[in-house]
């Protein structure tokens, strides 16, 4: 156990000429790249040579490309608010970390053994608890450990696999040997980033990558997938596998989206899943679909708010009951986070002897548990040098004074020997530095045992403390290259898994996604309508003419008032010019006014974020431009509105173009149609009385805000007249902005929506759209003219439009109730325990 740095001779500086010249390995640390004679180690020679050949400028360009490629793949939380890469989990740095075949085989064997061991530990802890009863494991590890979940005790996981994905943070000590610092079973993260790093680096350094015999990552994912399918098909052929995500708010959502795409498992959130009859189902538009396997990306405590007594909504209420019934395969079974217990590695050497009857090959980092007399003595003997850490609950804060912490609860304290991770070269703008490095390595269950990912996520930081604090946003990452003595077979996941998952996904989609897409469509259209209207106002205000000389301005302002963007006219009908300017500015920027442009744009972004994994990379980049709105209130409003309209159109175009004409696209387009129809009805209802109060130019303005002026000119080539204008805006089914066009599109969409059973009768949605479409087709506009008494509030056209708006809203509600219902789950508790007195 005792770990004393061996004295080593003074290391020589690297003798090379280029980038690495003068790098010296400090004493007391193992240097990955250079041997003690200052020469690059065998496995590093090609990398050092390749980098030495490149000019600093070329290297800078390469690192820029790395950053950009990561951004383009969406690996950053938000590519546009973190230009310096901060806020990015495990930002990728380009120098890979190679490991020789011999080094790797030692690590691999050690990890395989630890995985076997930890799986047996879990099987015992959640089963007979013999280790506890026989005193092989301290009782506190179970009794005082929040990572032990009572609710999961006694559950027999699918295929008896208590651990199906495992991650370990390893480091290489000064003696050149690897040790394990931490382990993860509850929610091992980083696998997706390891994959993404490999994709980026192999594109960045194609020559080096292909000249070197590097083991591929894809076979590991194939193995992971095969073992999932194999375990689930014990129950059902062709199992349904989903990836349970923590949602777009998670800083590592990217990883979940990437793994979902790569493995072909639909990305779902807790609210997409529901429990019936002890089984798990995915809520889809066509109904409930059974789920056989969950690739879980939320940690243990959040997995089941019902069984684990939590108020949060991330997990799936009842999931643990489904596991009890053995109706689901979960990777990992809930409760596997027991192996995350910080102090557990201290006991693994003895447990390995006992459970496997063999010595532990890959040692744990030296540490002492203070719950035992012996451990306490060892720890106190190293009072000044050790790191005092919580032993059971990583979130627990120890008293700053170790004596005090030991007094309070010695069993909750452990002491870790100082960590001296090996150093690897890290390229920065200022040159190459040697930085301490941890390796996050991954192991998955196979049919018989386990397999190790030949690669992983190397993590570096400026100093050891930052490295150990393990905040992904403060670490850089590297691709790990496991070298092979034999030629590497090319292998790709594409074509094997990918196509199957994609195919299945396109046929139906979770109700939640459809709901978000529908609202994305509505908000986009709402934003576009508002921006177009305000732009017409600002365009007139920014000209040379005095406001009172612009006849249609009052008309436009009335429309802006009618849809609630600025306050209604006061009694006297006069608004001073400066007050109006203030009102219009607020209509643009006010955050607390539901109808302001800033708020609607925020809603667009919010809705887009919720379906981020459904949007193309390009459309996601465009949507982020909307963030600039409101950043610069001094900007010319007209420019700003022009740009925003442009961005919205670009997004609509990209999003609609980039989507297959499946149900997702239909729901988004239905949202647009509903909103556009409602907006058009508003414009005509509120605009028409004004038009007829003999304001000329008002008709033209009405066409302008309806985006139909070009169509009118092309079609009529006459002055603006009421009847043809209304015909174009209401009845003309070939004008993509007309009300009839929207209704026609809606009718086409609802015909394609999934429905249970045979289609013998029209659905409620179909009947509603047909009614609306028929009504508009039968609308008679002949004889309508302002001089014929004029359209007033009680005239037939106004009543017609009012009815139409009501019907549209009822239709939207019907679609929501039928396909998208999301009802809140409310936990209820039994009444206060009462009066026993």
């Amino acid at each position: 156990m005792d770990h004393q740095p061996k004295p080593s001779g003074p290391a020589a500086a690297f003798a090379g000429s280029g980038l690495f010249a003068g790098l010296t390995c400090p004493q007391g640390a193992y240097c990955e790249a250079f041997a003690e004679d200052g020469q690059p180690r065998e496995q590093w020679r090609a990398i050092v040579a390749a980098m030495d050949r490149a000019t600093p400028e070329r290297l800078r360009q390469r690192q820029e490309r790395v950053k950009r490629m990561r951004h383009e793949d969406g690996a950053t939380y938000n590519p546009f608010d973190a230009p310096d890469g901060r806020g990015t989990p495990w930002a990728l740095e380009m120098v890979p970390l190679p490991l020789t075949a011999a080094e790797w085989s030692e690590l691999e064997r050690g990890l395989l053994q630890r995985a076997r061991l930890l799986e047996q530990v879990l099987a015992d802890v959640y089963g007979p608890q013999l280790l506890l009863k026989n005193g092989r494991m301290p009782a506190e590890l179970i009794y005082a450990n929040p990572r032990f979940l009572h609710a999961c005790h006694g559950i027999q996981p699918n295929g008896g696999r208590f651990l199906s994905l495992y991650a370990a943070d390893c480091y290489r000590g000064e003696d050149g040997r690897f040790r394990v610092l931490r382990e993860y079973g509850g929610h091992p993260v980083g696998l997706g980033y390891a994959l993404e790093n490999r994709i980026v680096i192999s594109r960045l350094l194609p020559e080096l990558y292909h000249r070197t015999q590097i083991r591929r990552l894809a076979p590991f994912f194939q193995t992971l997938h095969t073992s999932l399918v194999q375990r689930s098909s014990l129950r059902r052929e062709d199992p349904n596998i989903v990836l349970l995500s923590s949602g777009p708010d998670s800083p590592i959502y990217f990883e979940q989206a990437l793994l979902s795409r790569y493995l072909g498992y639909p990305l779902v959130e807790g609210q997409d899943l529901t429990v019936r009859n002890g089984r798990l189902f995915l809520r889809k538009l066509a109904g409930l679909e059974p789920v056989d396997t969950i690739f879980r990306h939320i940690d243990d405590p959040h997995s089941d708010p019902f069984a684990l007594r939590r108020g949060d909504v991330v997990g799936v209420a009842g999931l643990i009951q489904v596991a009890r019934e053995q109706n689901i395969d979960i990777v990992n079974p809930i409760g596997a986070g027991f192996i995350d217990t910080p102090v557990l590695p201290v006991f693994l050497a003895e447990l390995c002897d006992h459970l496997l009857g063999e010595p532990l090959m890959l040692a744990s980092h030296p540490a002492w548990w203070c719950g035992e007399e012996q451990g306490r003595v060892q720890a106190l003997a190293r009072l000044e040098t050790v790191r005092w850490q919580p032993a059971l609950d990583r979130a627990h804060r120890l008293a700053a004074d170790p004596h005090r912490a030991l007094d309070e609860a010695a069993f909750a304290v452990m002491a870790q020997e100082t960590v001296q991770p090996s150093l690897t070269p890290v390229w920065t703008q200022e040159g190459v530095h040697l930085r301490p490095t941890l390796l996050r390595l991954f192991v998955c269950a196979t049919e018989e045992g386990f397999a190790v990912l030949p690669g992983g996520l190397a993590m570096t930081a400026h100093d050891v403390d930052t490295l150990l604090a393990a905040v992904p946003e403060r670490l850089l990452s590297k691709d790990i290259w496991v070298l092979s003595d034999e030629p590497v077979e090319p292998f790709s996941m594409l074509g094997t898994l990918h196509s199957v998952g994609e195919f299945r996904r396109s046929s139906d989609l979770p109700s939640r996604v459809a709901d978000h897409l529908l609202w994305l469509g509505r908000y986009l259209e709402r934003a576009e309508g508002q921006v177009r209207l305000l732009r017409s106002v600002f365009r007139r205000l920014s000209g040379e003419a005095r406001p009172e000389d612009i006849p249609e301005l009052a008309f436009l302002l009335d429309l802006v008032r009618a849809i609630g963007m600025i306050p209604p006219l006061p009694e006297n009908g006069e608004v001073p010019q400066d007050e109006l300017a203030g009102q219009l500015t607020e209509a643009l920027y006010r955050q607390d006014r539901p109808a302001s442009v800033a708020v609607v744009l925020k809603q667009v972004q919010e809705a887009a974020r919720n379906v981020r994994d459904r949007l193309s990379r390009d459309s996601w980049r465009v949507i982020n431009r909307l963030e600039d709105f409101g950043d610069n209130p001094a900007a010319d409003p007209l420019d700003l509105l022009d740009n925003t309209l442009f961005t919205l159109s670009a997004f609509s175009g990209l999003a609609m173009e980039g989507m297959t004409r499946g149900l997702g696209w239909r729901f988004m387009d239905m949202g647009r149609r509903i909103e556009r129809a409602l907006h058009e009805i508003d414009l005509i209802r509120y605009g028409l009385p004004q038009v007829c109060r003999a304001q000329h130019n008002a008709l033209e303005a009405l066409l302008e805000v309806s985006d139909s002026i070009m169509t009118y000119r092309a079609r009529y080539r006459t002055a603006f007249q009421l009847a043809p204008v209304l015909d174009l805006l209401l009845l003309d089914e070939s004008n993509p902005k007309s009300l009839a066009f929207q209704l026609d599109q809606l009718a086409a969409h609802v015909e394609e929506l999934p429905r249970p059973g045979e289609r013998r009768y029209a659905s409620a949605e179909e009947r509603m759209t047909l009614e609306m479409l028929t009504a508009i087709r039968l609308l008679d506009l002949t004889g309508l003219a302002c001089n014929s008494g004029g359209p007033e509030n009680d005239d037939p056209l106004n009543r017609f439009l009012e009815t139409m708006a009501t019907r549209l809203l009822a239709f939207a509600q019907q679609v929501g109730a039928h396909y998208l219902t999301r009802v809140a789950a409310t936990p209820h508790f039994s009444l206060r325990l009462g009066d026993g007195a």
């Binding site: 002890g278 409310t826 325990l833 009462g834």
Partner: protein, 291 residues
């Protein structure tokens, strides 16, 4: 003594609930001084799914789901149990509390190992400053563990007010101690926190108490209630129940449902409903002697 217990819980929803999922600790368990002669659960509407298991602490737990829209849910547990008097252990004859703490920490026997899990803080009974000081008053050095615990119970009974408005299901023990008021669940939690702060093992017991009407008045059906108390581990004697709400060592008229680390482990009914809007809850408990 033989009792028939009828416990009815009714949820009423303002809007139809589409799905409700519940976990029940509603069926009495057998104990050293309680025999369960009959027990039956009934539901209205009938659940589509019902699952029974023995939980980690040996309690009988049911999980059930109603999967069709319903605006009302009624659960009834009807049981017949026979209880025996307590063993009339002499408090002064129990080991000193320090000795008990040492034995638990060493947990050399299976029984002590099992009791040891109830020494630690639990989700609803966190460690808090002031608790140990309050407890120590009843435990001068060398105090026999049961004598000290009975004194602690006596003090709590004298110093705390029974007040249904003072707390909710998840009021922390520190607040109960500061406010000196609460209901049986709060008193049980606080007493457990006190005993655990001394390194003793204490668990939470959920159950019922037979109430007797004032002499001359008839007993009202349904006027009884759920109750909660605690149990202390005494080496050699096993688990000894203590009821700080009533300042008694429970005997024949305390009927046990389930036990755990705290209320959260054994809440009689806990659940999640989808939809349902606001809900109201009515509980009726009847504990009647059977001859």
């Amino acid at each position: 003594m033989k009792y028939r217990i009828t416990h009815t819980t009714t949820y009423q929803y303002s809007e139809p609930a589409s799905l409700s999922q519940n976990e029940l600790f509603f069926t009495p368990r057998a104990t050293a001084r309680q025999q369960v002669l009959q027990s039956q659960l009934s539901f209205d509407p009938q659940p589509q799914y019902l699952h029974r298991r023995i939980d980690y602490f040996g309690n009988i737990a049911h999980v059930f789901m109603v999967q069709q829209p319903h605006s009302r849910l009624t659960l009834t547990a009807a049981s017949v149990v026979r209880t025996a008097r307590n063993s009339r252990l002499q408090p002064q004859a129990t080991p000193a509390w320090e000795e008990v703490g040492r034995r638990l920490q060493a947990h050399a026997t299976a029984e002590e190992l099992d009791a040891y899990q109830f020494v630690f803080a639990s989700p609803m009974i966190a460690e808090a400053p002031g608790i140990r000081d309050y407890a120590r008053i009843s435990f001068p050095p060398g105090t026999p563990v049961l004598a000290g615990s009975i004194d602690l119970m006596r003090r709590m009974f004298a110093e705390f007010a029974y007040d249904k408005t003072a707390s909710t299901v998840d009021t922390p023990v520190a607040q109960v101690l500061a406010g000196r008021r609460g209901v049986c669940q709060d008193f049980a939690h606080l007493a457990i926190a006190c005993l655990r702060s001394l390194g003793l093992a204490a668990r939470y017991v959920s159950g019922y108490l037979e109430t007797l009407p004032p002499p001359g008045t008839p007993k009202l059906v349904g006027a009884d209630a759920s109750h909660a108390w605690l149990s202390l581990y005494v080496p050699g004697a096993g688990w000894i129940d203590l009821d700080p709400t009533n300042n008694v060592v429970p005997g024949e008229s305390h009927l046990t449902l389930a036990w755990g680390r705290d209320y959260g482990d054994v809440a009689p009914v806990r659940g999640v409903v989808m939809g349902g809007g606001a809900h109201t809850l009515a509980v009726a408990v009847d504990v009647a002697r059977v001859d």
